[in-house]
Amino acid sequence: MKKFPLAGVAAGLVMLCGCVTEVHRIDLTGNIQIDAPKAIAEGPPRDKVLWQYRLAAADLQSGNFAQSKQMLDDALLTLGGIYGKDPSAKKSRSYFVSENKKTFIGEPYERVMAYFYRGIIYWMDGEPDNARACFRTGELEDSSSEGEQYNADYVLLDYLDGLATTKLGGDGSDAYQRALNECKLFAKPLPYNTNANVLFFVQWGPGPRKYAAGHYHEELHFSVPESPVRSAIIHADNVESINIGPFDDLGFQATTRGGRVMDFVLANKAVFKTATGVAGNTAIIAGTIAASSRNQTSQEVGLGLIAAGIISDVVSANTRPEADVRTWDNLPRYLSFAALQLAPGQHVVTVEFNDQFGQPMPSLTKTITINVPAEKRDQVVFVSDTSLTPQTQ
Protein backbone atom coordinates (compact mmCIF):
# COMPACT_ATOMS: atom_id res chain seq x y z
CA MET A 1 0.00 0.00 0.00
CA LYS A 2 3.01 2.29 0.61
CA LYS A 3 3.61 2.54 -3.11
CA PHE A 4 0.42 4.62 -3.67
CA PRO A 5 1.62 7.64 -1.65
CA LEU A 6 5.00 7.39 -3.42
CA ALA A 7 3.38 7.31 -6.82
CA GLY A 8 1.20 10.23 -5.73
CA VAL A 9 4.26 12.25 -4.73
CA ALA A 10 5.87 11.47 -8.07
CA ALA A 11 2.76 12.52 -9.92
CA GLY A 12 2.67 15.71 -7.87
CA LEU A 13 6.26 16.40 -8.86
CA VAL A 14 5.29 16.02 -12.47
CA MET A 15 2.54 18.58 -12.01
CA LEU A 16 4.84 21.01 -10.23
CA CYS A 17 7.80 20.81 -12.53
CA GLY A 18 5.89 22.33 -15.46
CA CYS A 19 8.15 24.81 -17.13
CA VAL A 20 7.90 28.39 -15.87
CA THR A 21 8.69 29.91 -19.27
CA GLU A 22 5.07 29.89 -20.33
CA VAL A 23 3.72 32.36 -22.82
CA HIS A 24 1.91 35.21 -21.14
CA ARG A 25 -1.63 35.44 -22.46
CA ILE A 26 -2.61 38.90 -23.53
CA ASP A 27 -6.02 40.20 -22.49
CA LEU A 28 -7.26 42.07 -25.52
CA THR A 29 -9.31 45.22 -25.07
CA GLY A 30 -10.31 45.67 -28.71
CA ASN A 31 -8.35 48.94 -28.90
CA ILE A 32 -5.45 48.35 -31.27
CA GLN A 33 -3.43 51.20 -29.75
CA ILE A 34 -3.51 49.40 -26.40
CA ASP A 35 -3.49 45.78 -27.54
CA ALA A 36 -0.74 45.94 -30.15
CA PRO A 37 2.05 47.49 -28.02
CA LYS A 38 1.22 45.00 -25.26
CA ALA A 39 1.17 42.03 -27.63
CA ILE A 40 4.43 43.12 -29.25
CA ALA A 41 6.14 43.47 -25.87
CA GLU A 42 4.62 40.56 -23.96
CA GLY A 43 2.91 38.25 -26.44
CA PRO A 44 4.34 35.28 -28.31
CA PRO A 45 7.27 36.36 -30.50
CA ARG A 46 5.73 34.47 -33.41
CA ASP A 47 2.85 37.00 -33.51
CA LYS A 48 5.02 40.10 -33.23
CA VAL A 49 4.99 40.93 -36.95
CA LEU A 50 1.21 40.48 -37.09
CA TRP A 51 0.72 43.07 -34.37
CA GLN A 52 3.28 45.36 -35.92
CA TYR A 53 1.37 45.19 -39.21
CA ARG A 54 -1.90 45.95 -37.45
CA LEU A 55 -0.48 48.83 -35.45
CA ALA A 56 1.24 50.28 -38.53
CA ALA A 57 -2.07 50.31 -40.44
CA ALA A 58 -3.91 51.85 -37.47
CA ASP A 59 -1.20 54.51 -37.16
CA LEU A 60 -1.50 55.39 -40.83
CA GLN A 61 -5.23 55.87 -40.34
CA SER A 62 -4.72 58.09 -37.31
CA GLY A 63 -1.92 60.09 -38.92
CA ASN A 64 0.84 58.80 -36.63
CA PHE A 65 3.25 58.17 -39.48
CA ALA A 66 6.38 58.13 -37.31
CA GLN A 67 5.16 55.16 -35.29
CA SER A 68 3.84 53.44 -38.40
CA LYS A 69 7.30 53.74 -39.96
CA GLN A 70 8.90 52.28 -36.86
CA MET A 71 6.52 49.30 -36.85
CA LEU A 72 6.91 48.60 -40.55
CA ASP A 73 10.69 48.90 -40.46
CA ASP A 74 10.90 46.28 -37.74
CA ALA A 75 8.37 44.00 -39.42
CA LEU A 76 10.15 44.26 -42.77
CA LEU A 77 13.43 43.26 -41.12
CA THR A 78 11.78 39.94 -40.22
CA LEU A 79 10.14 39.68 -43.62
CA GLY A 80 13.38 40.35 -45.49
CA GLY A 81 15.37 37.85 -43.46
CA ILE A 82 13.32 34.68 -43.76
CA TYR A 83 15.72 32.87 -46.07
CA GLY A 84 17.17 29.60 -44.95
CA LYS A 85 16.50 27.61 -41.82
CA ASP A 86 13.81 28.84 -39.50
CA PRO A 87 13.21 26.69 -36.41
CA SER A 88 9.61 27.87 -35.90
CA ALA A 89 8.75 27.28 -39.56
CA LYS A 90 10.34 23.85 -39.41
CA LYS A 91 8.32 22.98 -36.32
CA SER A 92 5.09 24.12 -37.98
CA ARG A 93 5.67 21.56 -40.73
CA SER A 94 5.87 18.69 -38.25
CA TYR A 95 2.85 16.47 -37.61
CA PHE A 96 2.37 17.54 -34.02
CA VAL A 97 2.69 21.31 -34.28
CA SER A 98 0.05 23.50 -35.90
CA GLU A 99 0.91 25.95 -38.65
CA ASN A 100 0.19 28.99 -36.51
CA LYS A 101 3.26 28.21 -34.40
CA LYS A 102 5.48 29.61 -37.15
CA THR A 103 6.64 33.22 -37.09
CA PHE A 104 3.90 35.20 -38.81
CA ILE A 105 4.91 37.13 -41.89
CA GLY A 106 1.55 36.93 -43.65
CA GLU A 107 0.29 35.71 -46.96
CA PRO A 108 1.60 37.46 -50.09
CA TYR A 109 -1.16 40.10 -50.13
CA GLU A 110 -0.30 41.00 -46.54
CA ARG A 111 3.42 41.17 -47.28
CA VAL A 112 2.70 43.34 -50.31
CA MET A 113 0.72 45.76 -48.15
CA ALA A 114 3.58 46.05 -45.63
CA TYR A 115 5.90 47.14 -48.44
CA PHE A 116 3.19 49.32 -50.01
CA TYR A 117 2.60 51.22 -46.76
CA ARG A 118 6.33 51.61 -46.14
CA GLY A 119 6.68 52.95 -49.68
CA ILE A 120 4.02 55.58 -49.00
CA ILE A 121 5.92 56.73 -45.89
CA TYR A 122 9.23 56.85 -47.79
CA TRP A 123 7.55 59.08 -50.37
CA MET A 124 6.15 61.27 -47.56
CA ASP A 125 9.71 61.63 -46.27
CA GLY A 126 10.92 62.82 -49.66
CA GLU A 127 12.58 59.56 -50.72
CA PRO A 128 10.71 58.47 -53.87
CA ASP A 129 13.54 56.13 -54.88
CA ASN A 130 13.24 54.17 -51.64
CA ALA A 131 9.46 54.27 -52.06
CA ARG A 132 9.93 52.77 -55.50
CA ALA A 133 12.19 50.09 -53.98
CA CYS A 134 9.35 49.13 -51.64
CA PHE A 135 6.81 49.00 -54.48
CA ARG A 136 9.19 46.79 -56.47
CA THR A 137 9.70 44.39 -53.57
CA GLY A 138 5.95 44.39 -53.01
CA GLU A 139 5.43 43.33 -56.61
CA LEU A 140 8.00 40.59 -56.07
CA GLU A 141 6.17 39.33 -52.99
CA ASP A 142 3.10 38.91 -55.18
CA SER A 143 5.09 36.89 -57.69
CA SER A 144 5.29 33.94 -55.32
CA SER A 145 1.81 32.79 -56.30
CA GLU A 146 1.67 29.39 -57.89
CA GLY A 147 1.35 29.48 -61.65
CA GLU A 148 1.89 32.55 -63.78
CA GLN A 149 -1.66 33.79 -64.28
CA TYR A 150 -1.88 36.13 -61.30
CA ASN A 151 1.79 36.79 -60.74
CA ALA A 152 2.76 40.36 -59.80
CA ASP A 153 -0.52 41.85 -60.99
CA TYR A 154 -0.94 44.88 -58.73
CA VAL A 155 -1.79 47.83 -60.96
CA LEU A 156 -0.83 50.43 -58.40
CA LEU A 157 2.60 49.01 -57.60
CA ASP A 158 3.72 49.17 -61.23
CA TYR A 159 2.00 52.51 -61.75
CA LEU A 160 3.79 54.04 -58.75
CA ASP A 161 7.10 52.44 -59.78
CA GLY A 162 6.78 54.27 -63.09
CA LEU A 163 5.64 57.52 -61.46
CA ALA A 164 8.63 57.55 -59.10
CA THR A 165 10.98 56.77 -61.99
CA THR A 166 9.46 59.58 -64.07
CA LYS A 167 9.72 62.05 -61.22
CA LEU A 168 13.36 61.05 -60.69
CA GLY A 169 14.11 61.89 -64.30
CA GLY A 170 13.97 58.36 -65.66
CA ASP A 171 11.72 56.60 -68.12
CA GLY A 172 8.67 55.18 -66.38
CA SER A 173 6.86 54.17 -69.56
CA ASP A 174 7.59 50.43 -69.18
CA ALA A 175 6.13 50.34 -65.69
CA TYR A 176 3.13 52.39 -66.84
CA GLN A 177 2.53 49.96 -69.68
CA ARG A 178 2.69 47.03 -67.24
CA ALA A 179 0.14 48.81 -65.04
CA LEU A 180 -2.17 49.25 -68.02
CA ASN A 181 -1.81 45.59 -68.98
CA GLU A 182 -2.60 44.46 -65.44
CA CYS A 183 -5.67 46.67 -65.19
CA LYS A 184 -8.46 44.21 -65.97
CA LEU A 185 -10.96 44.83 -63.18
CA PHE A 186 -11.16 48.61 -63.06
CA ALA A 187 -10.63 51.81 -65.05
CA LYS A 188 -7.12 52.34 -66.35
CA PRO A 189 -4.88 54.81 -64.51
CA LEU A 190 -4.19 58.19 -66.11
CA PRO A 191 -0.85 58.97 -67.78
CA TYR A 192 1.72 60.54 -65.46
CA ASN A 193 1.44 64.23 -64.72
CA THR A 194 4.95 65.20 -63.64
CA ASN A 195 3.71 68.57 -62.45
CA ALA A 196 1.34 66.98 -59.93
CA ASN A 197 2.87 67.67 -56.53
CA VAL A 198 0.18 66.27 -54.20
CA LEU A 199 -0.19 62.50 -54.20
CA PHE A 200 -3.30 60.93 -52.65
CA PHE A 201 -3.20 57.33 -51.48
CA VAL A 202 -6.82 56.41 -50.80
CA GLN A 203 -8.22 53.11 -49.56
CA TRP A 204 -11.61 51.82 -48.47
CA GLY A 205 -13.68 48.78 -47.59
CA PRO A 206 -12.99 45.86 -45.24
CA GLY A 207 -10.11 43.65 -46.29
CA PRO A 208 -10.06 39.88 -46.80
CA ARG A 209 -10.40 37.51 -43.86
CA LYS A 210 -8.94 34.04 -43.47
CA TYR A 211 -10.82 30.98 -42.34
CA ALA A 212 -10.04 27.29 -42.14
CA ALA A 213 -12.16 24.65 -43.84
CA GLY A 214 -11.84 20.91 -44.39
CA HIS A 215 -12.45 18.02 -42.01
CA TYR A 216 -9.57 19.05 -39.76
CA HIS A 217 -9.57 22.77 -40.67
CA GLU A 218 -6.51 22.07 -42.79
CA GLU A 219 -7.59 24.19 -45.76
CA LEU A 220 -6.88 27.92 -45.79
CA HIS A 221 -9.63 29.98 -47.39
CA PHE A 222 -10.41 33.67 -47.69
CA SER A 223 -13.69 35.48 -47.26
CA VAL A 224 -14.08 38.86 -48.86
CA PRO A 225 -16.67 41.08 -47.16
CA GLU A 226 -18.72 43.38 -49.35
CA SER A 227 -17.54 46.98 -49.28
CA PRO A 228 -20.22 49.63 -48.79
CA VAL A 229 -17.84 52.14 -50.41
CA ARG A 230 -17.19 51.86 -54.14
CA SER A 231 -15.49 55.11 -55.11
CA ALA A 232 -14.35 58.47 -53.74
CA ILE A 233 -14.18 62.14 -54.64
CA ILE A 234 -11.32 64.39 -53.61
CA HIS A 235 -12.16 68.10 -53.23
CA ALA A 236 -9.25 70.49 -52.88
CA ASP A 237 -10.25 73.84 -51.32
CA ASN A 238 -13.75 73.27 -52.70
CA VAL A 239 -12.35 74.38 -56.05
CA GLU A 240 -10.88 71.33 -57.68
CA SER A 241 -12.48 67.88 -57.61
CA ILE A 242 -11.37 64.52 -58.86
CA ASN A 243 -13.33 61.24 -58.94
CA ILE A 244 -11.37 58.14 -58.15
CA GLY A 245 -12.17 54.45 -58.41
CA PRO A 246 -10.15 51.50 -57.19
CA PHE A 247 -7.04 50.25 -58.97
CA ASP A 248 -6.48 47.13 -56.90
CA ASP A 249 -8.74 44.76 -54.97
CA LEU A 250 -7.08 42.95 -52.06
CA GLY A 251 -9.95 40.46 -52.06
CA PHE A 252 -9.04 39.49 -55.61
CA GLN A 253 -5.35 39.34 -54.69
CA ALA A 254 -5.98 37.10 -51.67
CA THR A 255 -8.25 34.67 -53.49
CA THR A 256 -6.09 34.35 -56.63
CA ARG A 257 -2.97 33.55 -54.68
CA GLY A 258 -2.90 29.93 -55.83
CA GLY A 259 -1.84 26.91 -53.85
CA ARG A 260 0.81 27.06 -51.16
CA VAL A 261 3.53 24.52 -50.55
CA MET A 262 2.25 24.53 -46.98
CA ASP A 263 -1.16 23.36 -48.25
CA PHE A 264 0.47 20.08 -49.31
CA VAL A 265 2.11 19.76 -45.90
CA LEU A 266 -1.23 20.33 -44.15
CA ALA A 267 -2.99 17.88 -46.48
CA ASN A 268 -0.37 15.28 -45.59
CA LYS A 269 -0.91 15.97 -41.91
CA ALA A 270 -4.66 15.47 -42.38
CA VAL A 271 -4.11 12.15 -44.16
CA PHE A 272 -1.78 11.05 -41.38
CA LYS A 273 -4.32 12.06 -38.74
CA THR A 274 -7.07 10.08 -40.49
CA ALA A 275 -4.85 7.04 -41.06
CA THR A 276 -3.60 6.83 -37.47
CA GLY A 277 -7.13 7.40 -36.15
CA VAL A 278 -8.64 4.67 -38.31
CA ALA A 279 -5.78 2.28 -37.53
CA GLY A 280 -6.13 2.98 -33.80
CA ASN A 281 -9.88 2.42 -33.73
CA THR A 282 -9.58 -0.76 -35.80
CA ALA A 283 -6.86 -2.13 -33.52
CA ILE A 284 -8.92 -1.36 -30.39
CA ILE A 285 -12.02 -3.09 -31.81
CA ALA A 286 -10.04 -6.11 -32.99
CA GLY A 287 -8.11 -6.20 -29.71
CA THR A 288 -11.31 -6.07 -27.65
CA ILE A 289 -12.74 -9.00 -29.58
CA ALA A 290 -9.53 -10.98 -29.21
CA ALA A 291 -9.17 -10.13 -25.53
CA SER A 292 -12.67 -11.43 -24.79
CA SER A 293 -11.65 -14.83 -26.14
CA ARG A 294 -11.06 -17.69 -23.70
CA ASN A 295 -7.76 -18.50 -25.33
CA GLN A 296 -4.89 -17.01 -23.31
CA THR A 297 -2.74 -16.29 -26.37
CA SER A 298 -5.64 -14.53 -28.05
CA GLN A 299 -6.20 -12.52 -24.90
CA GLU A 300 -2.52 -11.43 -24.84
CA VAL A 301 -2.60 -10.55 -28.53
CA GLY A 302 -5.87 -8.67 -27.94
CA LEU A 303 -4.34 -6.63 -25.10
CA GLY A 304 -1.37 -5.83 -27.34
CA LEU A 305 -3.69 -4.68 -30.09
CA ILE A 306 -5.64 -2.50 -27.67
CA ALA A 307 -2.40 -0.92 -26.42
CA ALA A 308 -1.22 -0.29 -30.01
CA GLY A 309 -4.64 1.10 -30.90
CA ILE A 310 -4.58 3.51 -27.98
CA ILE A 311 -1.09 4.71 -28.94
CA SER A 312 -2.22 5.18 -32.54
CA ASP A 313 -5.28 7.14 -31.39
CA VAL A 314 -3.12 9.32 -29.15
CA VAL A 315 -0.82 10.03 -32.11
CA SER A 316 -3.86 10.87 -34.25
CA ALA A 317 -5.32 13.14 -31.59
CA ASN A 318 -2.02 15.01 -31.32
CA THR A 319 -1.60 15.55 -35.04
CA ARG A 320 -2.25 19.22 -35.85
CA PRO A 321 -3.20 19.86 -39.47
CA GLU A 322 -5.03 23.18 -38.82
CA ALA A 323 -4.25 25.99 -41.23
CA ASP A 324 -2.90 29.26 -39.91
CA VAL A 325 -5.71 31.83 -39.99
CA ARG A 326 -3.94 34.70 -38.27
CA THR A 327 -4.99 37.71 -40.31
CA TRP A 328 -3.87 41.30 -40.72
CA ASP A 329 -7.41 42.35 -40.01
CA ASN A 330 -7.33 46.12 -40.53
CA LEU A 331 -6.36 46.08 -44.18
CA PRO A 332 -8.67 47.68 -46.73
CA ARG A 333 -10.40 46.02 -49.67
CA TYR A 334 -9.64 48.60 -52.39
CA LEU A 335 -6.56 50.69 -53.13
CA SER A 336 -6.67 53.88 -55.12
CA PHE A 337 -4.48 56.81 -56.05
CA ALA A 338 -4.73 60.31 -57.45
CA ALA A 339 -2.28 63.13 -58.14
CA LEU A 340 -3.10 66.84 -58.16
CA GLN A 341 -1.16 69.97 -58.82
CA LEU A 342 -1.64 72.49 -56.02
CA ALA A 343 0.12 75.76 -55.27
CA PRO A 344 2.53 75.81 -52.32
CA GLY A 345 0.86 76.66 -49.03
CA GLN A 346 -1.99 75.41 -46.91
CA HIS A 347 -4.98 73.66 -48.47
CA VAL A 348 -8.03 71.98 -47.04
CA VAL A 349 -8.84 68.71 -48.75
CA THR A 350 -12.09 66.81 -48.35
CA VAL A 351 -12.46 63.19 -49.36
CA GLU A 352 -15.99 61.88 -49.85
CA PHE A 353 -16.65 58.16 -50.11
CA ASN A 354 -19.49 57.01 -52.37
CA ASP A 355 -21.70 53.95 -52.18
CA GLN A 356 -22.57 51.58 -55.03
CA PHE A 357 -25.06 54.11 -56.45
CA GLY A 358 -22.47 56.86 -56.47
CA GLN A 359 -24.14 58.59 -53.53
CA PRO A 360 -21.87 60.18 -50.90
CA MET A 361 -21.74 58.56 -47.47
CA PRO A 362 -21.44 61.68 -45.27
CA SER A 363 -20.46 59.78 -42.12
CA LEU A 364 -17.25 58.69 -43.85
CA THR A 365 -16.17 62.08 -45.22
CA LYS A 366 -12.63 63.05 -44.20
CA THR A 367 -11.11 66.51 -43.94
CA ILE A 368 -7.37 66.91 -44.16
CA THR A 369 -5.33 70.07 -43.94
CA ILE A 370 -2.16 69.85 -45.98
CA ASN A 371 0.84 72.11 -46.35
CA VAL A 372 2.24 71.88 -49.86
CA PRO A 373 5.96 72.63 -49.69
CA ALA A 374 7.49 75.35 -51.84
CA GLU A 375 10.50 73.25 -52.77
CA LYS A 376 10.32 70.57 -55.43
CA ARG A 377 9.03 67.79 -53.24
CA ASP A 378 5.77 65.87 -53.31
CA GLN A 379 3.18 66.23 -50.59
CA VAL A 380 1.83 62.76 -49.85
CA VAL A 381 -1.65 62.37 -48.36
CA PHE A 382 -2.95 59.10 -46.95
CA VAL A 383 -6.72 58.70 -46.56
CA SER A 384 -8.79 55.69 -45.57
CA ASP A 385 -12.52 55.41 -45.03
CA THR A 386 -11.54 54.50 -41.47
CA SER A 387 -9.11 57.43 -41.01
CA LEU A 388 -9.51 59.78 -38.10
CA THR A 389 -10.85 63.14 -39.16
CA PRO A 390 -9.96 66.00 -39.22
CA GLN A 391 -6.23 65.54 -39.74
CA THR A 392 -3.22 67.62 -40.68
CA GLN A 393 -0.68 65.91 -42.89
Binding site: K3, A10, G18, I82, Y83, K85, D129, N130, S143
Partner: protein
Protein backbone atom coordinates in the same frame (compact mmCIF):
# COMPACT_ATOMS: atom_id res chain seq x y z
CA UNK B 1 8.08 -6.79 -0.64
CA UNK B 2 11.52 -5.16 -1.30
CA UNK B 3 11.18 -6.00 -4.95
CA UNK B 4 7.76 -4.32 -5.08
CA UNK B 5 9.15 -1.25 -3.31
CA UNK B 6 12.09 -1.03 -5.74
CA UNK B 7 9.69 -1.27 -8.67
CA UNK B 8 7.62 1.50 -7.13
CA UNK B 9 10.70 3.76 -6.71
CA UNK B 10 11.71 3.06 -10.30
CA UNK B 11 8.26 3.97 -11.49
CA UNK B 12 8.26 7.17 -9.42
CA UNK B 13 11.69 8.14 -10.75
CA UNK B 14 10.65 7.45 -14.31
CA UNK B 15 7.54 9.61 -13.92
CA UNK B 16 9.54 12.38 -12.27
CA UNK B 17 12.20 12.26 -15.04
CA UNK B 18 9.46 12.37 -17.63
CA UNK B 19 8.03 15.38 -15.86
CA UNK B 20 11.33 17.21 -15.92
CA UNK B 21 11.72 16.54 -19.62
CA UNK B 22 8.15 17.60 -20.35
CA UNK B 23 8.56 20.68 -18.20
CA UNK B 24 11.25 22.09 -20.46
CA UNK B 25 9.16 22.14 -23.61
CA UNK B 26 8.83 25.95 -23.35
CA UNK B 27 6.19 25.82 -26.02
CA UNK B 28 5.83 29.15 -27.86
CA UNK B 29 9.02 30.65 -26.45
CA UNK B 30 11.90 31.04 -28.84
CA UNK B 31 15.31 31.13 -27.18
CA UNK B 32 13.94 31.34 -23.61
CA UNK B 33 17.46 31.86 -22.32
CA UNK B 34 18.13 34.63 -24.82
CA UNK B 35 20.95 34.90 -27.31
CA UNK B 36 24.15 36.56 -26.10
CA UNK B 37 25.36 39.59 -28.05
CA UNK B 38 27.71 38.51 -30.78
CA UNK B 39 30.19 41.10 -31.96
CA UNK B 40 31.03 40.79 -35.62
CA UNK B 41 33.23 42.61 -38.07
CA UNK B 42 31.20 44.80 -40.46
CA UNK B 43 32.74 43.00 -43.42
CA UNK B 44 31.70 39.62 -42.05
CA UNK B 45 28.56 37.83 -43.18
CA UNK B 46 26.39 37.43 -40.10
CA UNK B 47 23.94 34.71 -39.18
CA UNK B 48 21.12 37.14 -39.89
CA UNK B 49 21.07 37.58 -43.64
CA UNK B 50 18.80 38.46 -46.51
CA UNK B 51 19.40 38.91 -50.21
CA UNK B 52 19.55 42.71 -49.95
CA UNK B 53 22.29 45.26 -49.30
CA UNK B 54 24.14 44.43 -46.10
CA UNK B 55 27.07 45.82 -44.17
CA UNK B 56 29.60 43.43 -45.66
CA UNK B 57 28.56 44.53 -49.16
CA UNK B 58 28.83 48.17 -48.23
CA UNK B 59 32.30 47.70 -46.73
CA UNK B 60 33.57 45.70 -49.71
CA UNK B 61 32.16 48.13 -52.26
CA UNK B 62 33.30 51.34 -50.57
CA UNK B 63 36.81 49.95 -49.87
CA UNK B 64 37.17 49.10 -53.54
CA UNK B 65 35.92 52.51 -54.66
CA UNK B 66 38.17 54.45 -52.29
CA UNK B 67 41.26 52.55 -53.48
CA UNK B 68 40.26 53.04 -57.08
CA UNK B 69 39.69 56.80 -56.77
CA UNK B 70 43.10 57.41 -55.20
CA UNK B 71 44.86 55.85 -58.17
CA UNK B 72 43.44 58.10 -60.87
CA UNK B 73 45.77 60.82 -62.30
CA UNK B 74 43.27 63.62 -61.64
CA UNK B 75 43.66 62.96 -57.93
CA UNK B 76 47.16 61.45 -57.68
CA UNK B 77 48.83 64.13 -59.86
CA UNK B 78 46.58 67.09 -59.10
CA UNK B 79 48.35 70.47 -58.81
CA UNK B 80 46.36 71.63 -55.81
CA UNK B 81 43.97 69.75 -53.60
CA UNK B 82 40.86 68.95 -55.63
CA UNK B 83 37.54 69.75 -53.96
CA UNK B 84 34.89 67.04 -54.11
CA UNK B 85 31.18 67.34 -53.45
CA UNK B 86 29.10 64.26 -52.72
CA UNK B 87 25.93 63.99 -54.78
CA UNK B 88 23.38 61.52 -53.35
CA UNK B 89 23.46 58.01 -54.74
CA UNK B 90 20.49 56.92 -56.84
CA UNK B 91 18.79 53.78 -55.62
CA UNK B 92 17.19 51.88 -58.46
CA UNK B 93 17.13 48.51 -56.70
CA UNK B 94 14.20 46.88 -54.96
CA UNK B 95 15.83 47.42 -51.57
CA UNK B 96 15.14 50.59 -49.63
CA UNK B 97 18.50 51.72 -48.24
CA UNK B 98 20.18 54.61 -46.52
CA UNK B 99 21.86 55.97 -49.66
CA UNK B 100 24.17 58.42 -47.92
CA UNK B 101 26.01 55.66 -46.10
CA UNK B 102 27.93 54.61 -49.23
CA UNK B 103 29.32 58.06 -49.96
CA UNK B 104 29.93 58.72 -46.28
CA UNK B 105 32.14 55.64 -46.02
CA UNK B 106 34.01 56.44 -49.24
CA UNK B 107 34.64 59.96 -47.93
CA UNK B 108 35.83 58.63 -44.57
CA UNK B 109 38.11 56.12 -46.26
CA UNK B 110 39.61 58.75 -48.54
CA UNK B 111 40.06 61.23 -45.72
CA UNK B 112 41.67 58.68 -43.42
CA UNK B 113 43.90 56.93 -45.95
CA UNK B 114 44.83 59.82 -48.20
CA UNK B 115 44.49 62.87 -46.03
CA UNK B 116 45.38 65.98 -48.02
CA UNK B 117 44.99 64.47 -51.47
CA UNK B 118 41.33 65.41 -51.74
CA UNK B 119 39.15 67.84 -49.89
CA UNK B 120 35.43 67.27 -49.39
CA UNK B 121 33.01 70.15 -49.25
CA UNK B 122 30.24 69.99 -46.65
CA UNK B 123 27.41 70.99 -48.94
CA UNK B 124 24.93 69.11 -46.78
CA UNK B 125 25.72 71.65 -44.04
CA UNK B 126 25.27 74.75 -46.19
CA UNK B 127 22.25 75.99 -44.26
CA UNK B 128 24.17 76.08 -40.97
CA UNK B 129 27.26 77.47 -42.67
CA UNK B 130 25.31 80.26 -44.35
CA UNK B 131 23.61 81.12 -41.08
CA UNK B 132 27.00 81.40 -39.37
CA UNK B 133 28.36 83.56 -42.18
CA UNK B 134 25.33 85.84 -41.95
CA UNK B 135 25.86 86.20 -38.20
CA UNK B 136 29.48 87.20 -38.88
CA UNK B 137 28.46 89.62 -41.61
CA UNK B 138 25.94 91.29 -39.32
CA UNK B 139 28.53 91.57 -36.55
CA UNK B 140 26.59 89.42 -34.13
CA UNK B 141 29.55 87.08 -33.74
CA UNK B 142 33.29 87.60 -34.20
CA UNK B 143 35.18 86.77 -37.40
CA UNK B 144 38.88 86.09 -37.99
CA UNK B 145 38.63 87.11 -41.64
CA UNK B 146 36.52 89.49 -43.69
CA UNK B 147 33.11 87.76 -43.66
CA UNK B 148 31.99 89.61 -46.79
CA UNK B 149 34.53 87.79 -48.92
CA UNK B 150 33.08 84.63 -50.36
CA UNK B 151 35.22 81.75 -49.17
CA UNK B 152 32.87 78.86 -49.74
CA UNK B 153 34.72 76.71 -52.22
CA UNK B 154 33.32 75.48 -55.48
CA UNK B 155 33.49 71.82 -56.47
CA UNK B 156 36.16 70.47 -58.81
CA UNK B 157 34.50 67.07 -58.87
CA UNK B 158 31.20 65.44 -57.99
CA UNK B 159 31.29 61.96 -56.52
CA UNK B 160 28.09 60.06 -57.04
CA UNK B 161 26.77 56.63 -57.82
CA UNK B 162 23.88 54.45 -58.82
CA UNK B 163 22.65 51.19 -57.37
CA UNK B 164 20.80 49.04 -59.87
CA UNK B 165 19.36 45.60 -59.39
CA UNK B 166 17.89 42.58 -61.09
CA UNK B 167 15.72 40.07 -59.32
CA UNK B 168 14.57 36.60 -60.25
CA UNK B 169 12.04 34.69 -58.24
CA UNK B 170 11.05 31.12 -58.96
CA UNK B 171 10.01 28.11 -56.92
CA UNK B 172 13.74 27.50 -56.50
CA UNK B 173 14.19 30.73 -54.56
CA UNK B 174 14.99 34.41 -54.95
CA UNK B 175 18.08 35.72 -56.67
CA UNK B 176 19.19 39.35 -56.37
CA UNK B 177 21.97 40.92 -58.39
CA UNK B 178 23.05 44.46 -57.50
CA UNK B 179 25.41 46.63 -59.53
CA UNK B 180 27.06 49.38 -57.51
CA UNK B 181 28.47 51.98 -59.95
CA UNK B 182 30.28 55.12 -58.77
CA UNK B 183 31.49 58.07 -60.80
CA UNK B 184 33.70 61.11 -60.35
CA UNK B 185 32.44 63.90 -62.58
CA UNK B 186 34.47 66.99 -63.52
CA UNK B 187 32.30 69.91 -62.38
CA UNK B 188 33.73 72.21 -65.08
CA UNK B 189 33.49 69.96 -68.11
CA UNK B 190 30.90 67.37 -67.00
CA UNK B 191 33.38 64.70 -68.10
CA UNK B 192 33.28 61.46 -66.16
CA UNK B 193 36.91 61.23 -65.09
CA UNK B 194 36.58 58.01 -63.14
CA UNK B 195 34.08 55.22 -62.89
CA UNK B 196 34.20 51.89 -61.16
CA UNK B 197 31.71 49.28 -60.16
CA UNK B 198 31.18 46.29 -57.93
CA UNK B 199 28.68 43.49 -58.37
CA UNK B 200 27.11 41.29 -55.74
CA UNK B 201 24.69 38.46 -56.32
CA UNK B 202 22.78 36.65 -53.59
CA UNK B 203 20.31 33.83 -53.61
CA UNK B 204 18.06 32.37 -50.97
CA UNK B 205 15.01 30.22 -50.44
CA UNK B 206 12.60 30.59 -47.59
CA UNK B 207 11.22 27.69 -45.56
CA UNK B 208 8.40 25.74 -47.21
CA UNK B 209 6.09 27.02 -44.48
CA UNK B 210 6.29 30.46 -46.09
CA UNK B 211 5.87 29.34 -49.69
Amino acid sequence: MNLTLNKCYSLALAIAAGGFIAGCASEGVKNPNGVPVTEMRPDERGFVAGTGVESQDMVAVTDKMARSILGIPQIANAQGVPCVVLDPVRNETRFPINKDIFLTRIRVQLNSKAAGKVSFLARDRMEALERERNLKQSGQVTANANPSVVEFKGADFFLTGTLQGMTTRTSGGTSDYILYAFQLIDARTSAIVWEDSAEIKKQGLEDAAYR
